[in-house]
Amino acid sequence: MKKKAAIWLLLAAVALMGAGQVQTGLLRMRTAHQPAVLEPADDMPPVIAFTTVALGGFRGFFADMLWMRAARLQREGRYFEIVQLADWITKLEPRFPAVWTYHAWNMAYNISILFDAPKERWRWVENGIQLLRNDALRYNPSSAQLYRELGWLFQHKIGSDDDSAHLYYKQRWAEKMESALSRPNELEALKLDPETMQMLDKTYGAFDWRLPQAHAVYWAWHSRSCARSGFDKAAASRMINQSILDACRAGRLVRDDSTGSFTLRPNLNLLPYAEKLFEQAANEGPDGETYREAKQQFIRSLLADEKQKE
């Protein structure tokens, strides 16, 4: 009986060693094919290590339960728990960029617009940004999709005028950045690298970093650096170009200290690059003349805007 048990134990040990050997090869292959995914041991906090390793096959089951609860609470308009549930769901599926983008989008878009007060809305937009910037990118530092989604929140949610509270968002973000630009630790908390910011200023023209277009360019540039597919590269490049054109039109913040209000004016530092973009499109596209006319129109409207606001 003891002999039998010893044989089984030996077999189990051999199988375990074999599995260990295969595991090393598998990890190597995964890193080669999916560099966006962190190695399990790399900077994984205990809670992630626990949820991804210890829960094993039950991870999916728990994630499903949380998804269902989140959906039900949202349907019933009970938002207190949404951030908590999103936090847990993403920790159960930390390497799945689509999960992060869904929750960030849900908070910044779907939930925020259900509130009337701009202050309430801004809280949800910020929750979405924080989820992507502070957590999602920590676990997926090479995901082009996550950088692009973060950039999109700046380009569209804060930067465009689609949301009736967009001016409030811009004001709050400008206040945050005014403070951060003079305090390196705050800049670090916003995951902004001063060297990259300087490099972008040098490449495209000096941005006003208090405004969202600059941040859309910042995150889209990261997205393009990590892009592995043609789609990711093209999407990131488009975001950079569109944001530069937007910043050209209204990318300079002028504050009125007496009233505390601000106006947005054209940022002509970016005009040379914007002109280059039109030229490039004219040379590459089939209808070059249209782009040249568009460029003239763009410059005319820019100067008219500048004149009118002065």
Binding site: V47, E76, G77, R78, Y79, F80, E81, I82, V83, Q84, D87, I113, L114, D116, R123, W124, E126, N127
Partner: protein, 401 residues
């Protein structure tokens, strides 16, 4: 009675010896201290307090339920397996006294752990809402809307669904003798839920009006909303009249569901008593689970008893789904889910954590009902059934199936 107490004492001592109590107390402490540190609210103090209360108490209740079922299964079955039961069975002790002794022993352990953890959670809550930690306005909101116990006076309705078209209005009457005894300046809250015929409308507008008060509200349809009313004029008959006007910008009908009529919330007691009532209801649920565990352990061996208990726990967790499936189109499935629904009836109750975390009163009637049904009636039925089977079983073998 002495014999029951003696067996209960033995059960407690056995649990302490087997380190069940130590492990459970440690787990509860870790849960109560660590869980709040990992919680993320929606960015508001109300949100954080809401999930602090519901998550810590919910997790505590789940942990104790699991441990109670496990300990209940082990209470009799391990005695039978280890043959210690022979030392008791040969004495003039009736099987029902053994059952009651084991059950009361578990209840005593649960009472101590629940009271200790409940006190700790309350302490953490008070620490998080201390004056130095909060903005005075936030604190006032929390005190008046969350850390309180508010009773609801529903509007008088004819029980029919009705809609209010654009620009139209509807009067609501709320009548309760307590309105006449409220002091001037006591805040009242209106709680309502309204649906819109246009399901794509994310927010709709409506105006509430009463003597000396009018408020334009913008709200999400089909969700509960709360509106603070400055002390409104109460009629001589103790009635409060409120008018709702559909003031939405475009044509759209707003629908009131008679299942959820508007209600006036007024402060009826302290948060502390509400909290205690909530713990009592959780305790009654634990008493029923202890009865399930002890009964399963009396009839089956430990592995089978544990399997049955876990099945019961899973069924309880799925009771919402089972109730939903009673409306299944398949006749056979409908019959089966009706049967399951009936079996789970004793375990079904209004979750006391939801009203507690939203500042609504958990009534003494709910506590009384939980005591009567769960701790007395259903536990008694389980005791009666399992004792009858225990008497018929052969315990000398030490291993039953």
């Amino acid at each position: 009675m002495d014999r029951i107490i003696a067996i209960a004492g033995l059960a407690v001592r056995s649990a302490i010896r087997s380190r069940v109590v130590a492990v459970l107390a440690g787990s509860v402490l870790v849960l109560v201290v660590l869980l709040p540190l990992t919680l993320k609210g929606d960015g508001t103090v109300e949100g954080y307090i809401h999930i602090l209360l519901s998550y810590t108490l919910g997790a505590l209740s789940f942990l104790l339920s699991l441990a109670t079922l496990w300990a209940g299964c082990a209470a009799v079955s391990t005695d039978v397996r280890g043959r210690q039961i022979h030392l008791i069975a040969v004495k003039p002790v009736r099987p029902v006294e053994i059952w009651l002794g084991k059950w009361l022993g578990l209840l005593a352990l649960n009472a101590v752990l629940l009271a200790a953890a409940g006190t700790l959670i309350y302490g953490m809550l008070r620490w998080n809402t201390r004056p130095a930690a909060l903005d005075p306005a936030d604190r006032a909101t929390i005190q008046s809307q969350l850390l309180t116990a508010r009773k609801a006076v529903p509007a008088i309705t004819d029980g029919k669904v009705f809609g209010i078209t654009s620009g139209a209005s509807r009067h609501w009457k709320f009548q309760a003798p307590v309105f006449q005894t409220l002091e001037t300046g006591t805040p009242l809250f209106l709680r309502y839920r309204i649906s819109a015929t246009d399901i794509t409308a994310l927010r709709v507008k409506g105006r509430w009006r009463t003597a000396g008060f009018e408020a334009e509200t913008v709200f999400m349809p089909n969700t509960f909303q709360t509106l603070e009313l400055p002390f409104p004029g109460i009629g001589k008959d103790g009635a409060l009249d409120l008018e709702f006007i559909n003031s939405h910008d475009r044509p759209l009908t707003l629908v009131f569901d008679p299942q959820h009529p508007p209600a006036i919330l007024y402060r009826s007691g302290s948060f502390e008593m509400n909290y205690a009532r909530c713990l009592l209801i959780i305790f009654c649920q634990l008493a029923l689970l202890a009865a399930v565990g002890v009964s399963a352990g009396s009839v089956f061996t430990m592995p089978v008893a544990a399997f049955v208990s876990v099945w019961v726990l899973i069924m309880i967790a799925s009771s919402g789904f089972i109730e939903h499936m009673t409306a299944s189109e398949n006749a056979l499935a409908r019959l089966w889910f009706h049967f399951l629904n009936l079996v789970l009836l004793p375990f079904r109750n209004e979750n006391p954590l939801e009203p507690l975390a939203t500042g609504r009163a958990v009534s003494w009637a709910a506590v009384g009902l939980a005591v009567l049904l769960k701790a007395v009636l259903f536990s008694g039925l389980l005791a009666w059934g399992s004792v009858a089977l225990f008497k018929r079983g052969e315990i000398a073998g030490g291993g039953r199936s």
